[in-house]
Symmetry: C2
Subunit: 478 residues, 2 copies
Amino acid sequence: MDNENIQEFSVEELLAKMDESDFDDIFEELFEKITILLEGKKYKQIREIMLHMNAADIAELMEEVIDELDMEKAILIFRMLPKDVSVDVFAYMPIDDQVGIISEISQMEVNYIMDELAFDDMIDVLEELPANLVDKILEKTPKNERKLINTFLNYPDYCAGTLMTPDYISLRKEMTVREALDYIKKEGMDSETIYTCYVKEMGRKLIGIVSLRTLVISDDNLQISDIMEEDFVSVNVYDDQEEVSDAFKKYNFLAIPVVDKEDRLVGIITVDDIIDVIEDENTEDFERMAGIMDSSDTEYLDMGVLNHAKNRLPWLVFLTVMGWGTSIILAHFEDMLSAAIMLVSYLPLLMGTGGNTGSQAATLIIRGMAVGDMEPSDAFKVIWKELRIAVCVGAILSLLNFLRIVYLDGETMVVGLTFAVSMLMVVVFAKIIGAVLPMAAKKVGLDPALMAAPMISSLTDMVSATTYCLLASLILGL
Amino acid sequence: MDNENIQEFSVEELLAKMDESDFDDIFEELFEKITILLEGKKYKQIREIMLHMNAADIAELMEEVIDELDMEKAILIFRMLPKDVSVDVFAYMPIDDQVGIISEISQMEVNYIMDELAFDDMIDVLEELPANLVDKILEKTPKNERKLINTFLNYPDYCAGTLMTPDYISLRKEMTVREALDYIKKEGMDSETIYTCYVKEMGRKLIGIVSLRTLVISDDNLQISDIMEEDFVSVNVYDDQEEVSDAFKKYNFLAIPVVDKEDRLVGIITVDDIIDVIEDENTEDFERMAGIMDSSDTEYLDMGVLNHAKNRLPWLVFLTVMGWGTSIILAHFEDMLSAAIMLVSYLPLLMGTGGNTGSQAATLIIRGMAVGDMEPSDAFKVIWKELRIAVCVGAILSLLNFLRIVYLDGETMVVGLTFAVSMLMVVVFAKIIGAVLPMAAKKVGLDPALMAAPMISSLTDMVSATTYCLLASLILGL
């Protein structure tokens, strides 16, 4: 049967198709054909196809092989790749799969990969490997590099130190442009980037930066000290990764220097790593705003059911306990509610609208602070704006519901009015609390993203219950 | 009084402080002192301070001047800047403020800025200017550039064409490395980037790319055709900006070539513009997930109350109408509810928990699809996982509430059981619907972010009401 399947397509046709199409468009077909070739043990053809792809695409295909087939087959493919390509492919894979591969291949292969990997990528892998594997790898490393690796491994999570690489071009200020370019020609191969070069004086203190662009367009005989930028922005090795990504967003850098507290250059961070940080920080915000704890680096499908449950339960339990508050309030008004039971059927709408309007405000404020459009110091402007928006939005929703209660449901004007006034009050409360809580959280150093939909909804539930029941008692005289 | 205030600080001290501190840390102090200097008309000192700052920081300060003082004062500062700096500062400002400045300065100043601005930045400004101002600017532009500008202005919003710039380095494949470097030295000044160069054949067809890194480390006498990368990734000029940013995320590019349907090179997109796109796409998702329409480029504080209301009302009205469904269900069970009124007090908790658990699932699935961790084709795996998570989470929440209802509230076991079983069923429903809806939306070409908390909550409200009331009727025999 395998042979039959293989007859159905020629590798040449597939290669021609790959040249013409976007990789994403033929991904499923490609994966299917690789599966057939794997089953038929047609390794030569697989290798031919792989040599036709770039490293990032091969990595994506291997991920799919690991997820849909098994690690063994992925390693089969991995070993078919030319050695230098295999390292590039490895660098593009997600950390879980990298660790999976490392655990399955020979020590010699591991050492080769670790040797060839960019320094910051190697540190990322080492951080996730079990201790015994790390020890084995470090055994083979020269002593001074081992020391450097250990320093990097010891930086706290999510700080600039964990993002940086020590492989940068460093120049001296006495060099001429020609000398600098010759030096880069010799050393540039192993650097993470050569597009920004760093000028250090004795004691490793960073005194200037110079871009390759400036070097290339400057006269050969100029000195580095004449063309270097002395007024540069740097980050501290212990700065949070969010501060680092903010600097990239603001200044449009390709790389940023990382210094210790004595202003000595210890590494650089490049923009490609920052794009990942930006997406991770956004993912963290999305998850926190939905009440999910402990945003982890593990992909959704790779995480176990119990871990998923563990990340979701704490907030759910907390919100349940808050929800009991609403129950107590409603229990207090039991007599009134049973005397006018039709009131009950409108209650969820009031609560739902409160939650929705409040979380609209909270989302805009949380996001606005995250991208730097506003600060807690803008609180009064924001509250004043939300108050007016709430009156607009609340008035329209109240009117809509009044008309429906009175004309569609045929309840009395007084019932309609009770609901409409409650709605307006709840919307105003929800919008204000949706603006205030995230700003207050930021002010006291908490993550504003915690004050999102779930929290706001719980609070507006209580306020809705209280407002509605009190107003009903008053207006309807119950 | 002004003079008194000015006596209180020396500009020298401020400059020294600026050298030592992070800009963010002294921002408020700096703004305060600039305000005092503006009041005292001490323009020489302001200029001195500005010359001590980089363009991105000056832009941030000018934004604050526009927001907190007025446009007139901002333009005063703007005119104090050396001409070349003023263009850089202008480029860093948000589009609203750019339009504000353009409308206030002289035609000559406008022409200077437009002339010096990077092409893609100029297009961004022209897109937002009123037509009569655009015409005035285009009048002064040479005919062939005017044609190019008009082509760029006509690309649809949010496509690759609106992000690209035509200012790139293009090489010929017969050039030697030395010739290429000499050419870059001559032409590099006006290019958006020189770090990736593009090799075109007759008819503008793109045949290869070569990085400046490769050029710098290659032998001077090699030909471009020997070292260029022929297997490169490009995007089409009409591709959506999200596809472009996905390519950057996957391949770690610094720039990507943009081609038309005949594979002719029409421009390039650089990574700094992509970081903005990534943040805009995330903002759009955050807003859609909170039920806010028509994500606009205007900052929160700059948008009027009525526009804010207009963006929030459509979903609120839609959700209100969905909420009426829940009312109808509850109205149907009025008799039963009034016979067992204590059931009512537990209802909001059931609905709230349904909404919260459902939107946890929806958020993870929406985000997972956005960052490429999963596809609609993974639906069965995801549903199976959510089902098991729902049973774990639901069981614990049900038990917790059962214990509370029976032991804290002193209700009967049967009431506790009714609630507990409803809770488990609602959680399972919510998690499944939270997983299915976003994937189904993507499958049919809708934005999955529309199927987030508000939508899920509305649906689970209806299911909660139905399940709870039906179970209560059955179990309690009401």
